[in-house]
Amino acid sequence: MTQKNRITGGQIDRTRTLSFTFDGKSYAGHPGDTLASALLANGVRLMGRSFKYHRPRGPLSAGSEEPNAIVQLRSGARQEPNTRATVAELFDGLTASSQNRFPSLSFDLMGVNDLLSPFFAAGFYYKTFMWPAKFWEKVYEPIIRHAAGLGALSKQDDPDEYDKGFLHCDLLIIGAGPAGLSAALTAGRAGARVIVTDEDFRMGGRLNAETFTLGDQSGADWATATVAELAQMPSVRLMPRTTTLGAMDHGIYSAVERVSDHLAAPLAGKPRQTLWRIYSARALLTGGATERPIAFENNDRPGIMLAGALRAYANRWGATVGDRVAVFTNNDDGLRTATDLQAKGIDVAAVIDTRTGGPLLPGIRHLQGAEVTGSTGRLGLSSITIRHANGRSETLPVTALGVSGGWNPNLNIASHHRGRPVWNETLAAFTPGPTGPVGLTAAGAAAGEMSTHAALHGGANAAIAALSDLGRTATKPDLPSAEDAPLNLSPKWYVAGKGRAWVDQQNDVTVKDVKLAHQENFVSVEHLKRYTTLGMATDQGKTGNILGLAVMAELTGKSIPDTGTTIYRPPYTPVAMGALGGRSRGHDFKPTRLTPSHKWASEQGAVFVEVGMWLRAQWFPKPGETTWRQSVDREVLATRACVGICDVTTLGKIDIQGTDAGAFLDRVYANTFSTLAVGKVRYGLMLREDGIVMDDGTTARMGQNEWVMTTTTANAVPVFRHLEYVRQCLYPDMDVQLISTTEAWAQYSVAGPNARKLLQKLVDQDISDAAFPYMACGNITVKGTRARLFRISFSGELAYEIAVPTRYGDAMIRALMEAGREFDAVAYGTEALGVMRVEKGHVAGNELNGQSTALNMGLGKMVSKKKDAIGMVLSGREGLTTEDGLRIVGVKPVDPAQPLTAGAHLLGHGKAAIAANDDGWLTSVVYSPHVGSSIALGYLKNGAARIGERLRAVNLLAKTEVEVEIVSPHFVDPEGDRLRG
């Protein structure tokens, strides 16, 4: 467990040692390490395999742009595929394993793909695997799918919890490097509400990875001191380990905070991650820049990495990638790597500089006008080949190579609204354009201000500008002096050569692939990306896209900006699905609505069913009942024979008041209500403007200007919305006030011959037929408690619905059952309710399918033409009024023993089972103990005229077919004598 490549310095806590394993082997690291820095310190360069050719790979970067060092973190249900080792914070006991290799990382049989690479050129699969036709799915695709993907899911439920939250600020600062910190200092001291997010666990950005000083302290120390000051400001919220994912509309940003990913497991009650929705008045993008490589033959070996990363590992993490290193650069920043590493006592074999004429580095072999043409080393870099300015070739043994092709500003988020970046010639890079998200500006390296000095001042100035937009004044803090050196970059994208030079390392897209795409006319950026998969890997092309674009530009003879731009979509880096889902999963996916009788029903052992958000009692099993049918039949028979009680609270209730309430109801209902007498209830049919039935229900007139509308359970919300629409948008001067009272009243249906006797025991008023006739309603009291009574029936029996304030709902069901004992009262659930409404021929959800008219439902006469109501006009369209259109019918099996199936279609005798012979279907099917067979409601072409006809109810899914008779939909008491009894 020796950290052979651990060197001095760095921001790691050497007083504590953390142990972790990679591919089963144990290693040691320190707090402050990432998995990648710790592995490098332990001399491990090989960390992964590429997607297509299974090439051995080590880290290219030291950040979230990493394409190569992708591992599987943790194990069991917490297994976390495709984790970037370069940002995985080390914790004691961390376990990680390599991906996409068999049998082992160092010996991967799939490496054979690399030898066959000529056959796997870009888009090869579009051109073959077509013969014979069947073979694609049977043979070829299974092989391709088997090779697909990198890491694997555990297939177990994610055991961790996730939170969501909402934050508000004047200024959101994305990235806590020099620009972000100076901006935060500026805005914070001005008292503005500031949120600073940074994806790193240590704020400071590149300041933590560089050796130059700010004033008289090191960059890292300045960052630490600044963060400490900001932490003291009550109006500033510092959010490390927080990645801002994307820019939404109107200043809203999404961000994910990795609350517990640096721990072995989240603490009790704490989430693994939290998704924040940040509402900002202004936002600053200070996300820095990402270094890009220069492509050359075999530029993907472990040990070859970005020069800035090589430097960061040494400076921030006290780790070197090798004892002998070289640097390949086209700009001055690359030179820093050489000087920093040499200062750390590492042997810098050479600096290969594509430029000529500049000053030579003292004490370092600085080769100008040279380039790296290749590399060797099976599982890690062992040597590079150099082509000198004079054309001479030299092989140089090194174990690490730092490559710098320049830096790309992290404009990612600035392009989320498809704003076009602009090309900066000096940097040979895109910078955020003027058309980014409203309220967002970029500063520091993200805006192309590459020097530390420029970043510090750019950040402060941007903060001052943003606050002045908001009418606040801020003053620029005294910023320390800092380096202000130019990059002196001379563009170099790839080194010409015969071999393969990688552009997109994870997806194995090479310069050759880009050339092939061009040759086949896939020249637009979108085509290039889609054809070669350039930039489609887990790093989203943060380092590679620009290379591909540059190669394509060269081939088309256009400039890079004329060839295309690199724009991005959210999220900035891949984000766990769990975080986006938050707590809404499992039983908490949606809230649960409980009825007033829920507690009592549970005590009775009721079986519950989800009805929208509601849980309703489906049936009440009694001892000895072994099937649900026994319970439901009993509930139905007992209700029709004696009396049954059902919780109908879930029906929507809307309180409608005002002097124009009657006229209002005439507009929203197809039938007339204004003429309804006080103390009476009427059944109403509500249409959509297109003439299709929207909902039905009863509305009671409780007083001159006071009405109570009931809706179906499913439509309570949409109907209320519709009523408000009609009230506010269509008839703004109607005197109508609305409010929902669905939850305020516990409502029970009491149905059956003994319903009145039962209720009279509890109701203080006279409810005799004379005093309280069919369709009456009124305010009453139940032994002194205020209540409402409606004489309405869904079951076809003598029935009432009684409502008490919800707090008394539990007591009421108990009182009803107690009072009903002498009549053998039963409680019935939604199944029995359904049986009885089908027996009575009432339409419900399955008939109210949003495709049916009043005419279809046999209720055509309810649509009054004498008044203007929503849906009246368009319900008259020819296609909705054909004589032989669908009509609701009752359906019975000819052989009572045969069960019907809802959804079965109706066909004539001897007619083939083809659509042309399709006459209709069964909408609702129940077993009717009253009829003694399964019965159904259905929609049948010209149904009203076909009563008595015999058809086949065909269910081709179960390959069953039942001979049925078409009957009236009213299976019980068609004359309605019972209702009025």
Binding site: P81, M130, R145, P574, G581
Partner: protein, 416 residues
Amino acid sequence: MRYSGFRVIREALTGHKGWGPAWRDATPQAAYDYIIVGGGGHGLATAYYLAKEFRQSRIAVVEKGWIGGGNVGRNTTIIRSNYLLDGNEPFYEFSLKLWEGLEQDFNYNAMVSQRGIINLFHTDAQRDAYTRRGNAMILHGADAELLNRDQVRALYPFLNFDNARFPIKGALAQRRGGTVRHDAVAWGYARGASDRGVDIIQNCEVTGIRRENGRVTGIDTTRGFIGAKKVGVAVAGNSSTVMAKADMRLPIESHVLQAFVSEGLKPVIDGVMTYGAGHFYVSQSDKGGLVFGGDIDGYNSYAQRGNMPVVEDVAEGGMSLMPMIGRARLLRSWGGIMDMSMDGSPIIDKTGIDGLYFNGGWCYGGFKATPASGWCFAHLLATDRPHPTATAYRFDRFRKGLMIDEKGQGAQPNLH
């Protein structure tokens, strides 16, 4: 140039020097018999079938950007023919049959992969509706099965069966459903059309539709006027803006639909699945990414991007259905502009203007329809009669009350 395994091997051994352009970049000629506006899947397919099946010539496809850059390049790649209504099912079944022979037909491997689609149900009412639908599908010659809970569990044991707010009760399955490599569809049709003489004109935006006494004479474009005997518009997403150039208003709104893909994962989901208790559907690509989506954002939009509420809604659905994906990462999101019609079904019809034809209103079901849409639109353009499977897709169905409303939501586009 014909593609084949042998050709790939030969090219591999000779440095791939022999591959030519997949399609020709054409410059506009003065006039054509047919101009198809829109170089997306439907437009390219229309041109391809016009040339191949209806033996027409002098055909151009004009595209304002790059071909395949619209919805054919930004969808969730699902194919199926599991529709309920007579107006739809024959058309989508025709489309599915065309998919089944497509690659051999246009000599391009679009990776048509019939790994099956299941629509989960969670209530008795949903089961009844799926039973009705499954029977309708079979009556129209399509395949359908009803799976019970155990059969679903056997397929996908990792779904949330034991801790669900809305328990899975079963599923409607169509084994012939599946996925297709979406970009390859555009490229395959483009290549096939180009090989048959169709001019594919990129970066050519229509600025006007010229008419003389009620008849189309051609189109003004950013690359000049191009004469045409017949103009077919297939620009779903932008239908209203393009048809406005012919002074037409449509029963269509443009809405944004977001879609998502996860990082590449080892195979875990074989087929396509839709959740019945939330807005979530998912499949896994041959590259390993979970491709998933949900509902449209719900407001008119021409911006190819959406907002957080839908992202979260989709993730909540996904987490509820398969809690294992909590540790999978969402890699990329994108937005496509959907032609949301007033009944959720498309329009393939003539217009009041002679020589001007319209194809649109695909809502978010357009990708699976690509072959049949192209075929039927070509049929209409070439014969002036609707194809037998597309007779219901008329403009006047709303006036006549003959809506094709699968969801029963009425004239509110964002609910379809």
